[in-house]
């Protein structure tokens, strides 16, 4: 029997939740680094230099991708919850593919910008 979790909407739920969790954990570090501009500008520059390393840039790329995924899948949830359903099967599954494709596009633009 096919697992009830093995469908696109479940993977979208998981992607939305895990991306949100990762972004939530990342935010304090993001705010801390920006806060360095207040009185430790040299340290902020040192961090930005560190962030220029390939591995860190790859992490940044991941975060941009996660932010885009979280927004796209979140918009689908809002549409599911707040907009009328034209039929009982109108789970807007195509939004998942479009959201994934748009996020990949954002990721490609980011990668082209930093390479």
């Amino acid at each position: 029997m096919k697992s009830p979790r093995n469908h696109r909407a479940y993977w979208a739920f998981l992607g939305h939740r895990l991306s949100g969790l990762a972004l939530g954990i990342f935010l304090p570090a993001h705010f801390y680094v920006l806060g360095l501009a207040l009185d430790q500008r040299a340290r902020m520059d040192a961090f930005l230099k560190f962030a220029d390393m390939g591995a860190v840039k790859f992490g940044e790329w991941g975060l941009v991708l996660l932010l885009s995924i979280h927004m796209c899948f979140g918009l689908r949830l809002l549409a599911l919850e707040l907009l009328p359903w034209s039929s009982i099967r109108d789970a807007r599954l195509s939004w998942i593919s479009w959201g994934g494709a748009l996020s990949l596009f954002v990721g490609v633009i980011f990668a082209l910008g930093v390479i």
Partner: protein, 111 residues
């Protein structure tokens, strides 16, 4: 408790969606050719467009993130509703404080 949090989560999401779109566009624009503190600050300090935009973004984030985290703690970590609520309230306050401090720093207040 659950109903107002559910509504707040959706309302903050609706407020944030355009912020996230603009933020993504700013990231894609700003990272080209690398970043320096001076370059970032020259764009942001004293900007009356930038400061209210990111202040409101931070407030929305400080509402949205803790509610989502609370759901995860309750559903996946099996933490009690009370403990999850306290932890997430504190986390939200931390995000609000750190976020507004970051906006003040990058926006050129207090310097």
């Amino acid at each position: 408790m659950e109903q107002p949090l559910f509504a707040l989560q959706r309302l903050s999401a609706m407020v944030m969606a355009p912020f996230v779109l603009v933020h993504l566009a700013v990231i894609l624009y700003a990272v080209r050719g690398g970043l320096t503190a001076a370059e970032i600050l020259s764009r942001t300090q004293g900007s009356w467009l930038w400061i209210p935009f990111y202040s409101l973004f931070v407030v929305s984030v400080a509402v949205h993130v803790p509610i989502g985290l609370r759901n995860i703690l309750i559903e996946w970590a099996r933490l009690s509703r009370g403990a999850s609520s306290v932890f997430c309230l504190l986390f939200g306050l931390l995000l609000l404080w750190m976020g507004l401090r970051a906006v003040a720093a990058v926006g050129g207040f207090l310097s």
